[in-house]
């Protein structure tokens, strides 16, 4: 049913349609509205049979999900930012044990400095954990990806993060088509676990594995993600047959035919990028877009195919590999190894910095003329940065950086001024 609703509420409804049996979560912005809504549905008896478990931390949330998934229950949780970091040990365990947990990551920056706003640092920090990661461009896609995620996770017996931009999507009211229960039931069969803790047929899960077998177990996790590269497009096709719309897949291009400059990005910023590309196309610029939906597994072949006919590309990403540059960009460059394509990295939107069309127009024009540094920090306030660098040169005890920057920006800082 078509409705105007909040992203978090829409995702909660989609999760409920997937008939989860255990939901465990600890509140953290900007994810909280999702599990709040699910908690209300369980309490009201609208989502049954399902156990909603209030846990004492994110570490406990993932630990409970591991236990419930191993017991054969379809298990769901959600988190963001520091919450994801707090559960990391259990995140790796869930993947290492091959448990098909689905988790929403409402993408948010990682402190310090503490910041509640959106970027992709949190889930990208878990890129090597063995979890698959799918990025939603809109709230409709967030809804659809969760339904596909349960199917894919359970088929492969591997966990998936569905990533949606915190606040920008989670707190946005927009038009979403919430599927019917029959459609979801037709797409997503009941959970048939590969391994299950069953007193009638006892097994142990979580053996100590030494050098003689560890690599094989790890390789199999990689092999599963390689299988996912095949299954993700097929599952998107099947999704379209039942739900009637394109959602998911590995990558998606926009106005890419004959494009000389390609913009590569993930998540909701693709919408703003498409608007800018339409405006530039109208002025005759040969520019197109590559949206990456599946960050893990990373679709090297499809990314290469989408870029290879262009002359240059710029990866616009909401993440920073400190001391290196881009995270997504490094993956994209791997895909075009040996092609001779010029590649640029633009770091934008960290900690919720707005990414306006005007900045993108400027950036994309510079990219077209190849007048960019290898790594560009979009809309960085160089005056403030240079002032702090100078302060550090002048004074040994230059003080805390974040507080100094806030002071220079004319904003009060509770640490400095009490």
């Amino acid at each position: 049913m078509l409705k105007q609703t909040e992203g978090s509420k829409a995702v909660a409804e989609a999760i409920a349609l997937c008939r989860p049996e255990v939901i465990c979560a600890y509140p953290i912005s900007p994810q909280t509205h999702i599990v709040e809504a699910l908690g209300e549905m369980v309490k009201a008896g609208e989502l049954a049979p399902c156990e909603f478990i209030n846990v004492e931390s994110e570490f406990a949330a993932m630990s409970v999900a591991i236990g419930s998934s191993a017991a054969g229950a379809r298990s769901y949780t959600a988190t963001a930012s520091q919450g994801l970091l707090f559960m990391v040990e259990a995140v790796y365990n869930a993947a290492g044990l091959g448990l098909p947990i689905v988790m929403t990551v409402a993408n948010r920056a990682i402190g310090a400095p503490i910041n509640i706003w959106n970027d992709h640092s949190d889930s990208l920090s878990q890129r090597d954990s063995g979890w698959m990661q799918l990025f939603a461009e809109t709230n409709q896609e967030a809804v659809d990806l969760h339904i596909q995620a349960f199917r894919l996770a359970e088929e492969l017996s591997m966990p998936i993060m569905v990533c949606m931009d915190g606040f920008i999507l989670t707190h946005a009211f927009e038009r979403v088509d919430i599927p019917a229960q029959e459609q979801v039931d037709a797409y997503l069969p009941p959970f048939d676990p590969r391994q299950v803790l069953d007193p009638a047929e006892p097994v142990s899960i979580g053996a100590m594995v030494g050098p003689e077998a560890f690599m094989e177990v790890k390789y199999l996790a990689h092999a599963k993600q390689m299988q996912a590269l095949e299954r993700i497009p097929q599952l998107a096709d099947e999704f379209k047959k039942i739900f009637g719309r394109d959602s998911g897949g590995l990558v998606r291009t926009y106005r890419a035919d004959d494009a000389e400059t390609m913009i590569v990005a993930m998540g909701s910023v693709l919408g703003t990028i498409k608007d800018v590309v339409d405006e530039m196309r109208a002025e005759g610029h040969k520019i197109g877009v590559l949206g990456i939906i599946s960050f893990r597994p990373f679709p090297l072949e499809q990314v290469r195919a989408a870029l290879i006919k262009s002359k240059r590309f710029i990866v616009l990403e909401k993440s920073l590999a400190v001391g290196m540059g881009g995270i997504v960009a490094t993956n994209v460059r791997m895909a075009v190894t040996g092609s001779g394509l010029r590649g640029f990295t633009a770091i934008a939107g960290l900690g919720g910095r707005a990414i306006p069309k005007s900045s993108l127009h400027k950036l994309f024009r510079q990219a077209e003329q190849e007048k960019l540094e290898p790594v560009t920090f979009v809309d960085l306030d160089w005056d403030v940065v240079n002032k702090q660098l100078e302060r550090e040169k002048q004074n040994r005890r230059s003080g805390p950086i974040a507080e100094n920057i806030l002071f220079d920006k004319g904003m009060s800082s509770s640490a400095k001024f009490g």
Binding site: K3, Q4, E6, P30, I116, W117, N118, F167, I168, H171, A172, F173, E174, R175, S268, V269, L270, G271, T272, K274, D275, G352, A354, I355, P356, K357
Partner: protein, 193 residues
Amino acid sequence: MFQIRIHGRGGQGVVTATEMLSVAAFEEGRHAQAFPSFGSERTGAPVVAFCRIDDKEIRLREPIMEPDALIIQDPTLLHQIDVFAGLKPDGYVLLNTHHTFETIGLGDFAKERDRGRLCTLPATQLGLKHVGRPIPNVPLIAGFAALSDMIQLASVIKAINEKFSGKVAEGNIAAAAEAYALVKEQMKEHAHA
């Protein structure tokens, strides 16, 4: 695309107002996107929220920097932040006050603009009168419907019924109806002035 920015303070229902505007537009078959400015909202702190309305899918995710319309839920913000930043020259302004633009110190501002697009509304009083709480958001969105004709009063009422029920819904509908009538009356006066 029509872009609305609402300024207010934490606790005044600023975010809810944009959400209800988006629901009202959706009820008319249009695409709408509402989103807050995502602060750590505290009661009394300045809050900004946004609403876009269009006939096609809205993909843009930047904050609204050049609004077609401003709704100002708290006139004390006029001394604190530049609420008019980026407002289009022919933009609409709806201000919650029982004063006029002249008596509140915005006479010069009003002179430079199309008076048919500026309006004040005692929205807090309407909230108190009909709902028993000093929440100005619903009267203001009904007032905005009257000022701009971007949405119908009937759609605002649908949005109210989706958000509230029982006595609270009834009170809000009464507040919306009075706000709508007050703004239409003021606009008639301007048209004849």
